[in-house]
């Protein structure tokens, strides 16, 4: 016996259909379970971190900065760096700024550049250069 006749006689259509359905069902269920696995583990390990039960409310734009205020000496340093940046292009080179700071004998240039980065006064432009965020600067040195 050959062709469709052979398939029908051996119950081939049903076997193929049921087979495909079972393989799919099995893997769909498995994929669902493993997609939830990390959430369940996160919940067991630390229920507080279980985000979708108690979503963290954002406290605003400030969240993205590590530093939200500057100390007096940090403000002074920021002002000095601002003077240097004024002599540079809008999209300035950070290594060049550090070099200028060193030449100008500014105190601890590396640490102070880091403070400018943490506070959001200096921001990368994603093309390898950096921008001076004037609004942020004015707000923090007030």
């Amino acid at each position: 016996m050959y062709g469709f006749e052979a398939i029908s006689a051996n119950n081939g259509w049903s076997i193929a259909a049921v087979g495909i359905i079972i393989v799919f069902a099995g893997l769909v269920v498995l994929s669902f379970i493993i997609s939830q696995l990390h959430k369940v583990l996160a919940f067991i390990e630390n229920p507080k971190r279980f985000e979708f039960l108690s979503p963290k409310k954002s406290t605003g734009k400030e969240d993205k900065y590590v530093l939200t205020s500057l100390l007096k000496n940090q403000k002074e340093s920021a002002k000095q760096f601002f003077l240097l940046v004024k002599t540079m292009e809008e999209h300035f080179s950070l290594p060049k700024l550090i070099r200028l700071a060193e030449v100008s004998n500014l105190e601890k240039p590396y640490i102070n550049i880091n403070i400018l980065l943490d506070s959001g006064i200096v921001e990368p432009d994603s093309k390898g250069y950096f921008l001076w965020n004037e609004n942020r600067f004015k707000k923090l040195i007030k």
């Binding site: 080179s93 950070l94 290594p95 640490i111 880091n114 390898g128």
Partner: protein, 149 residues
């Protein structure tokens, strides 16, 4: 789990390696404390190490005076970011005190070249990582030649 393995699981390009590959990698990692202003790699110098940041903040600067900041624990600074043909092409400086894992460049390249799956895994993720962290640095065509980096 050791601190090294824990950190390796945070490194974008190494986290998907299997245990034995991670263990081999772990064996060539050496933790060092770095201080603000310290040079980790100087452009033109012999490329001895690649780096994985544990803490702190490091600045990579190119000869065109472009720069990128690495601050996330697990940031990997190596391959095109740092070297070509055994010489450092860029400079890496620490901005603040921190800790870094030093990876012996030669041993590292030797290790990944000895394992076809490992090199495929790493290089397939490296392209994305480079694009994400330093899009202005051109990805080199990976030819499999050990000396390329």
């Amino acid at each position: 789990m050791s601190q090294k393995l824990e950190l390796l699981n945070q490194v974008d390009i190494f986290k998907s390696l299997d245990n034995s590959a991670q263990n081999r990698l772990e064996s060539i990692m050496e933790k060092r404390v770095i201080s603000a202003g310290e040079d980790l790699a100087i452009q033109g110098g012999q490329a001895l190490f690649f780096f994985i940041l544990i803490s702190g903040r490091v600045l990579l600067s190119t000869k065109e005076e472009k720069a990128v900041i690495f601050k996330k624990p697990g940031d990997f600074i190596g391959f095109e970011l740092l070297s070509l043909n055994g010489k450092y092409t860029n400079t890496l400086k620490s901005l603040i005190d921190g800790e870094v894992f030093f990876l012996n460049r030669e041993k590292f390249l030797e290790m990944i070249h000895g394992d076809a799956t490992m090199v495929e895994n790493i290089m397939s993720l490296w392209g994305n990582y480079l694009l994400k962290t330093a899009p202005f640095i051109k990805k080199l065509d990976f030819t499999g030649a050990e000396s390329i980096y």
